[in-house]
Amino acid sequence: MLKALLPAVFAAFVLLGGPGGPQKQGPPKRAPGDAKPAAPPKVTEIDEAALKSLLGAGAGRARPLLVNFWATWCVPCREEFPDLVKIRGQYAAERLDFLLVSLDDPSDIGKAVPEFLSEQRATALPAYLLHAGDDNTAINLVDPDWSGELPATFLYDRSGSLVFKHKGRIKPDELRAALDAALKDKPQEAGAQK
């Protein structure tokens, strides 16, 4: 009986990727100080309507959603990037959606924006560039209390409610506390198995 099961157990072992378990996703490990950037990511241009559907205002979602609005010309945006990348690494993708929305000029979509993301090794984050017909509409649909200053970071919980916002450079501890609170308030243990 046990012998009959062995091939199946072996097959499962191979399918799961051997002793290391499922292959981890994400950039390959590099030695500290190795500054070789990852391949530039694709940045998708969106308008207000696409932004609205990305945010999924009011609708339930599988995971909380963190959105960072930034631009390559914005100094505090650039300064906070390593913290954002670190936070992406600390919260598994199956637990948290995390999007980047650039307010750079659309002409920068092919070069300046992806190159900066690559330098920052932020290539695992879905990246968009907002080219709104009207910025006023876009700003108000994210948050009527937002004036449009960059950077700005918003966290929506599973119900689609805006539960945390921060304008200006993020304070990582404050953001982690908000993320932990949003993740605690969950219907099932998602992403528990590794």
Partner: protein, 203 residues
Amino acid sequence: MKKLSAVALLLALSAAFAAQAARATRPATDAKAAVAVGAVVPDFKLPDADGNEHTLASLKGPKGTVLIFVATRCPVSNAYNERMAKLAADYRAKGVNVVGINSNSTEPAAEVKQHAADKGLAFTILKDDGNVVADRFNAQYTPEAFLLDASGKLVYHGRIDNSRNADGVTTSDLRDAIDATLAGRGVANPEVKGFGCSIKRTS
């Protein structure tokens, strides 16, 4: 005698309580009461980049006043330098005065002065150390504009126009608001937002 001191104590206590209550409520209401569209903007006093003090009252134009929160290092604000200089020149003749306010704690007065000279910003730029005036206006980004009519009432708040790139401008929100005000009409869109650099406040 005992009765009298009890009354005195009671009076003193209630006076102290009243003072405490006033202290507790007054700053809260002041801080919340950011200048709103439709309300008269209270006077304030700030130094310019040379250190000379000006009151808002002394800088008002006879037909209106534009206050723009500006920066020396923000690429968005800098993209508007020529447009702001032209705005000031165009409307000075029509009785509307343009005033810049730099509230960035990272940009010292000497830098503001040099920047204005280099970029041809030929209007008064005030230095708002401690971002007191930015807080009063709830100004958050540069360049963010506030238009006061001849009576000092706030009639427009927001972006200068819809495009950082001067070639892409299709709506000149601030100019439209000034023109409407000069013509005695109401401003069609009194609050229009735009993207800009966050004002670097003293933390």
